[in-house]
């Protein structure tokens, strides 16, 4: 059985299924209880599961994550919501220094999930539009996933909650209500591997999250060129085999990041290809990413910095012609 759900509804459904099936699961976040969450992901949850399992917290990300770590160490499966991914900087120490290193230092598992509503495109300005996944890719001990479809949003959230490690769940705000799809009912796990969104042979566009949709649209009709789109889905672990497979098949690669270009996930992918896919390359590895500027509030300026369909298309055309 499947249900037609938006990306946001799929996340809600995953949380609801987990709360219903596993009493160790609890949710923590700002305004997630009575208000139902800034984006209404947990709308109505407090009525079904009560304030003890759908906890409204103070505006203190460090406290949210710190508390979740403690709960996880004693056997709970906490899911923290950052109201905006940007705010996780306040909980950085707890996540990066405490949660990520707990197993290494003390042999204790920290099965927490941190939901990070990320991404721009809605004139949210510099504090509400960031894609901070690379911060956590750089911290050993944390897994980072970034679904692009409703089905993967649900399946990856289940996988994150079941995972014994801290997992950053990058949910893209722009996709919340724009993306809809058939989602299997019940609990299922999406593997932390890449997915070929569209197979092709002449050029591979590698992306994740919202940029998968940009990549698909940009390459739908490139003068008949056969363009593969690889949806990474998981950034840590990174599906290196799938990436190198795409490179071997297509020999030309465009990597799209919505995040700021420097040291972004796409930079890691490019480094991997340079290191292990060199023999398969028929052109330079091309990156399309947001330049190293804060996300502007101005709608026109924001659209100018975020990777657009047009920019990706142009990059693909250039590389195809190379």
């Amino acid at each position: 059985m499947t249900a037609s759900l938006t990306y946001l509804q799929a996340i809600s459904a995953a949380l609801r299924d987990e709360l219903r099936s596993d009493e160790r699961v609890l949710l923590m976040g700002e305004d997630i209880g009575v208000f139902g969450g800034a984006f209404k992901v947990t709308d109505g949850f407090i009525d079904e599961f009560g304030g003890d399992r759908v906890m409204d917290t103070p505006l203190a990300e460090s406290a949210i994550i710190g508390t979740a770590i403690g709960a996880a160490v004693v056997g709970m499966r906490p899911v923290c919501e950052m109201q905006f991914a940007d705010f996780i900087s306040c909980g950085f120490d707890q996540l990066v220094n405490v949660a990520a290193k707990m197993h290494y230092r003390q042999g204790l598992a920290v099965p927490i999930t941190v939901r990070l509503p990320s991404g721009g495109g809605f004139s949210g300005g510099p504090f509400h539009s960031q894609n901070p996944e690379a911060w956590f890719m750089h911290a050993p001990g944390i897994k980072v996933v970034a679904p692009s479809t409703a089905e993967d949003a649900k399946g990856l959230l289940h996988a994150a909650i079941h995972d014994p490690n801290p997992v950053c769940f990058m949910e893209h705000k722009h996709l919340y209500r724009r993306i809809k799809g058939e989602v299997p009912e019940g609990i299922f796990e999406t593997p932390l591997t890449a997915r070929v969104a569209r197979p092709g042979t002449e050029l591979a566009v590698i992306a994740y999250g919202a940029m998968v949709h940009v990549a698909v649209e940009a390459t739908e009709d490139l003068d008949g060129a056969s363009v593969e789109v690889l949806d990474l889905r998981s950034l840590v672990p990174l599906d290196e085999d799938a990436i190198l497979d795409s490179v071997a098949r297509c020999s030309k690669v465009v990597i799209v990041d919505e995040a700021n270009a420097t040291c972004a996930a796409g930079a890691q992918v490019a480094a991997l290809i340079a290191e292990r896919g060199f023999e398969d390359l028929d052109g330079p590895v091309v990156r399309v990413a947001t330049p190293n500027v804060p996300i502007p509030f101005s709608p026109s300026l924001e659209q100018a910095v975020l990777p657009s369909v047009e920019r990706v298309r142009e990059a693909c055309r250039e590389l195809l012609a190379y």
Partner: protein, 466 residues
């Protein structure tokens, strides 16, 4: 048959004629007697060849020519070929008109060597299309260019801009894996860059092309690609296919004369034997060969056992050569056929025979055979079985005393006897080998024993030498 161009870089008999002797200087020069003309003579094309016919001239009197440049095409009863200029210079005289047949050694033309003042063609470059690339020639060739020798052409310069000679890793890897010379691929990328798809398209095209057209001679289990005989469009010696009301081509006339002479000369008998090819079929499949190299190998072994068949009979003189020089009939499509020789075939394995036969067939079709490669045969195999025919009465290739005919290998019910001596009917790939032999040189019993020897070797094939 079109011209068979013997390249200057190869020491074929024609080129060798020039290299082995210093150019013959003719005293019959121009007025003044100081200049000495170089003779161009009808080359010795093979031991049994006494004469040749001029098929066409490529140059005219007064043309400036370079050493190795083709000046005329000639035809003998064995092959057609080009005659290269022995020296650079100017054509002073043309002595033999087209279609005239003259003896070996006859002077065809005379050339005034470069630097000698005869009705000089001036300093202009040779006419388009007549210039022969000299990069591959012998080192001495350039010096013969006289005035041109002082200005060597830089031949190592890449044809295109240096930037386009850089290849991406994947292109280099594919090229290395398939042994492709990337300079022959036209790039479709930016600035003519060779892209991966260009290399793949090149590989596809190479695969799609009929890699090797069948010999005269093929197993029926192979698809039959179209004969890929491409004659240079402008070659004067090219013969169109036999048309209604048209004259027989020179090649057809020559084949006809040979065949008639053979039948008039030899007391031709034909003997057949049926062979179970089960083991050969099993052995050839993994190697990707036809049955031919196996039959050739078994025949060579049988010839060693029965040397009376590896012989020449010329009038009443009967010779048994030490070596086995195996002729393999190769079809040239509608033009006719030619029999290149695998020299010292007894020294070759099945794999060696297969490779040698394939190479000779390719050279035959591209008209690259030298006279040496079509002479000296001691025994011939013909194999027109690709259309499924099962028996033939081949005509002996004179002065040999026998010819073996390999027709199609087809499946037939066969009575087989097992180790206990009980018989059963099995479906087996079989073929009928036909041997035409000269009753003047041998008798039927010898022919039958020879065929039985081949049959025994083929049916008992064990992977080692027959």
């Amino acid at each position: 048959m079109s011209s068979s161009h013997i390249r200057g870089g190869e020491a074929g008999p024609v080129a060798g004629d020039r290299r082995e002797h210093a150019p013959r200087q003719s005293p019959a020069g121009t007025p003044g007697g100081a200049t000495r003309l170089v003779d161009v003579t009808m080359p010795q094309m093979g031991v049994s060849v006494a004469e040749g016919t001029v098929v066409g001239w490529r140059v005219e009197v007064g043309d400036r020519i370079e050493a190795d440049q083709t000046i005329c095409e000639i035809s003998t009863d064995k092959i057609d070929t080009d005659v290269p200029a022995p020296v650079s210079g100017v054509v002073a005289e043309i002595l033999v008109p087209v279609e005239r047949t003259v003896s070996v050694g006859a002077v065809l033309a005379r050339i005034a060597p470069a630097g000698v003042g005869v009705a000089d063609g001036g300093t202009e470059a040779p006419r388009d299309g007549t210039r022969v690339a000299r990069g591959n020639g012998a080192p001495g060739n350039g010096a013969r260019g006289g005035a041109q020798a002082g200005a060597p052409t830089p031949s190592t310069q890449p044809a295109t801009a240096p930037g386009s000679r850089r290849y991406s890793p994947v292109v280099q890897r594919i090229a290395a894996e398939h042994g492709i010379d990337l300079s022959q691929i036209e790039g479709t990328g930016r600035g003519g860059r060779v892209r991966k798809q260009d290399v793949l398209a090149f590989l596809d095209a190479a695969r799609a092309a009929p890699a090797e057209p069948p010999l005269h001679i093929e197993s029926p289990y192979r698809p039959e690609p179209a004969p890929a005989v491409v004659a240079p469009a402008t070659a004067p010696g090219a013969t169109p296919p036999l048309a209604d009301g048209g004259q027989l081509s020179r090649m057809r006339r020559q084949i006809g004369e040979h065949m008639k002479r053979s039948l008039e000369t030899a007391a031709t008998c034909t003997t057949w034997i049926e062979v179970d090819m089960t083991r050969i079929e099993a052995a050839r499949a993994p190697l990707g060969f036809t049955a031919l190299p196996f039959v050739a190998r078994a025949t060579i072994a049988a010839l060693r056992e029965h040397p009376a068949l590896n012989a020449w009979l010329e009038d009443e003189r009967y010779t048994r050569p030490e070596e086995i020089n195996l002729g393999i009939a190769v079809s040239l499509g509608e033009d006719g056929l030619i029999v290149p020789i695998v020299h010292r075939a007894h020294e070759l394995s099945v794999e060696g025979l297969a490779a040698r036969i394939k190479e000779l067939a390719r050279r035959a079709r591209s008209r690259e055979l030298t006279a040496d490669e079509v002479r000296g045969g001691t025994f011939t195999i013909t194999n027109p079985g690709q259309y499924g025919s099962i028996m033939a009465t081949p005509i002996i290739n004179q002065p040999q005393v026998a010819i073996l005919d390999l027709e199609a290998v087809t499946k037939h019910p066969l009575v087989v006897t097992d180790a206990d001596g009980s018989d059963s009917i099995a479906i087996r790939p079989t073929t009928i080998l036909g041997l035409s032999w000269d009753h003047r040189a041998l008798d039927g019993a010898q022919a039958a024993r020879f065929l039985a020897s081949i049959k025994r070797r083929l049916e008992g094939w064990s992977g080692s030498e027959a």
